[in-house]
């Protein structure tokens, strides 16, 4: 109990004092997470839309596979990305291993299935009569898609929030691809992991509270946008 209180006190001290190291880690965390969420959104929403509105053999199996990937362990993604990005791997020439770009790559792979799957669920939940009305009004393909995404905007926003939450809180990929290099690839989760292994529970707890606070602020912000 004492450790917990001390941890909270330390967290407030670090936040209020604008500790440069903590600030640097927090900013990097946000940069990497936002980048991966942005890239995933650009890929997952059109992908989810295409899967929803196109008929092809194996569609149901593909949707089941995407849903299965929701539970993809971060260390598996980390391992896969490590093999892809390592010098001898197929993407070795990018030289992204132990870089923020590599971490963005890993997190993107991790959250695309979640965001695509939830986009599919959101679009499939639209009343078929809405689809009929859109078609009946003479929408072009692009207008058809835009109207559906607008109609499902709250559920799609939720998909983005879930993707963001998964990305900001994951540690397996970040540590395996990023390597937790101080001032370069260290993010809040990897810093917590390191400080805990070093026995600095107060600092770990403080960083955890900062992580939660960031997630809370972002979620509240997105929720505000949703309710407008």
């Amino acid at each position: 109990m004492n450790d917990l209180l001390t941890g909270i006190e330390t967290a407030f001290h670090l936040i209020l004092a604008v500790d440069p190291q903590v600030f640097d880690i927090a900013i990097r965390t946000l940069q990497i997470t936002f980048s991966s969420v942005l890239i995933s959104t650009i890929i997952a929403i059109p992908l989810g839309s295409a899967i929803t509105f196109r008929e092809f053999p194996g569609k149901k199996t593909l949707i089941s596979l995407i849903q299965t990937l929701y539970a993809l362990p971060t260390v598996i993604v980390g391992l896969l990305c490590y093999m892809l990005l390592s010098r001898s791997g197929p993407l070795g020439d990018l030289k992204w291993l132990f870089t923020p770009n590599g971490m963005i790559f890993g997190q993107t792979i991790l959250i695309i299935p979640i965001m695509a799957g939830l986009t599919i669920a959101a679009l499939q939940a639209i009343d078929p009569i809405i689809t009929d009305t859109i078609k009946s009004l003479g929408a072009t393909r692009l207008q058809f898609l835009k109207s559906h995404l607008k109609e499902a905007r709250f559920a799609i926003m939720a998909a983005i929030i879930v993707g963001f939450s998964r990305a900001i809180s994951e540690v397996g990929t970040a540590i395996m691809i990023g390597g937790n290099i101080k001032g370069h690839t260290r993010v809040l989760t990897t810093a917590i992991s390191l400080q805990t292994s070093m026995g600095n529970f107060n600092l770990s707890l403080a960083l955890g509270i900062i992580l939660l606070a960031i997630a809370l602020i972002i979620n509240l912000g997105m929720g505000f946008v949703q309710n407008r």
Binding site: D127, I129, I130, D132, T133, I134, K135, S136, L137, G138, A139, T140, Q143, S147, K150, E151, R153, F154
Partner: protein
């Protein structure tokens, strides 16, 4: 002009439409009536290019609507309002403006047209309201406005008032008539509300077993049903089976449960026929003072009185023959009509409509 040619549609091996053919003239209100599950909605969806027929074709002004090159052009010439009112999760203004945005209208044009349409449907001031919070009747008015704002030549309505209260139904019907008369929009509507079919339509088609088994003017269909099945559906209370006993003076005398009924026309003696007599065509008399020129006069006794609002249906039996008669609530009170009272029924020979078991194919 819309020409429907032998449209068939199968769903998972089940034939829902079995060959629908009809010609609908420009500017008319054409009502499709029929029991539920007979394919009315499927046909309307095919007309609106939401479904593909298994075979057959639809031509509008001589052009096939499903040709890849012009299907989007035809879709934009039509508009469809569905049975369930459709409201997008957006403002009433944006709901109505949707079709105009698809067509690339400017903001100013959209504003002008939406304002005008809101006025027409009686929802001025509702611009910013969320459409999902409107009542069913209001939502259906928005649905109609969303379609009509695009200026379609053909308005397709699939049971547009099935879920609405009588007041909202009247508002929607008035709007439909307004658009038909003012803009000359061809209206094709399905309904199982027979009164609505009669109120709105210039022509009616009866859909049963996936095809039109009878079509014609409202008067023809509702007074000359082509089969006992159609007569039953359109609410002809007295559908009887009898055999032709003889022909006299250009009239067939049909024996029904031992009672001779005169009908216009000559038929082969001994042939079995169905006859329909509308309850409102039968006069009911009490006492000996019978002043009528009607050919058919039947004595009987009241078996039951069934009230239907201000009108009641009185069931009269004469031996094994039972006939329903429509009488006002006031007459029932004045004449003290109740079970067991002896009465005389009279109806003219033209009121007796002779029908075959099945509609002849000429009606299709």
């Amino acid at each position: 002009m819309i020409k429907i040619e032998q449209i068939k549609k199968e769903f998972e091996g089940k034939e829902v439409l079995t060959g629908v053919s009809e010609t609908i003239q420009k500017g008319e209100i054409f009502a499709i009536i029929g029991p539920s599950g007979q394919g009315k909605t499927t046909l309307l969806r095919i007309l609106n290019l939401l479904e593909t027929p298994s075979s057959g074709q639809i031509l509008v002004d001589g052009e096939r609507i499903r040709d890849a090159t012009n299907s989007s052009h035809f879709r934009r010439r039509m508009g469809m309002v569905f049975q369930s009112p459709v409201a997008f999760r957006d403002s009433v203004y944006n709901n109505i403006a949707l079709g105009l945005r698809y067509r690339g209208f400017s903001k100013e044009e959209i504003h002008e047209k939406v304002t005008q349409k809101l006025k027409e449907i009686g929802l001025s001031g509702y611009e910013k309201r969320k459409a999902t919070t409107l009542s069913g009747g209001e939502k259906q008015r928005v649905s109609l406005a969303r379609v009509m704002i695009t200026g379609p030549d053909i308005l397709i309505l699939d049971e547009p008032t099935a879920n609405l209260d009588p007041v909202s139904t009247e508002v929607i019907e008035t709007l439909i008539q307004h658009y038909n008369k003012k803009l000359g929009t061809t209206v094709i509507l399905s309904t199982h509300d027979l009164m609505q079919g009669q109120r709105l339509a210039s022509r009616v088609a009866v859909m049963m077993d996936g095809r039109f088994i009878q079509s014609g003017s409202v008067f023809d269909v509702f007074t000359r049903p082509c089969s006992a099945e159609v007569a039953k559906f359109i609410g002809v209370g007295n559908i009887l089976k009898g055999s032709v006993a003889r022909n006299e003076w250009g009239m067939a005398v049909i024996r029904v449960h031992g009672v001779d009924i005169h009908a216009i026309g000559e038929l082969p003696v001994g042939s079995v026929v169905n006859i329909a007599i509308r309850p409102e065509e039968i006069m009911l008399h009490t006492g000996a003072d019978l002043n009528t020129s009607a050919r058919n006069i039947i004595n009987g006794t009241i078996e039951s009185v069934r009230p239907f609002g201000i009108i009641s249906l009185i069931n009269v039996v004469s031996g094994e023959l039972a006939l329903s008669v429509q009488v006002t609530w006031q007459s029932i009170r004045e004449l003290d009509l109740k079970s067991g009272v002896p009465v005389t029924l009279s109806f003219k020979a033209p009121a007796v409509h002779i029908m075959p078991d099945e509609c002849p194919h000429e009606n299709i």
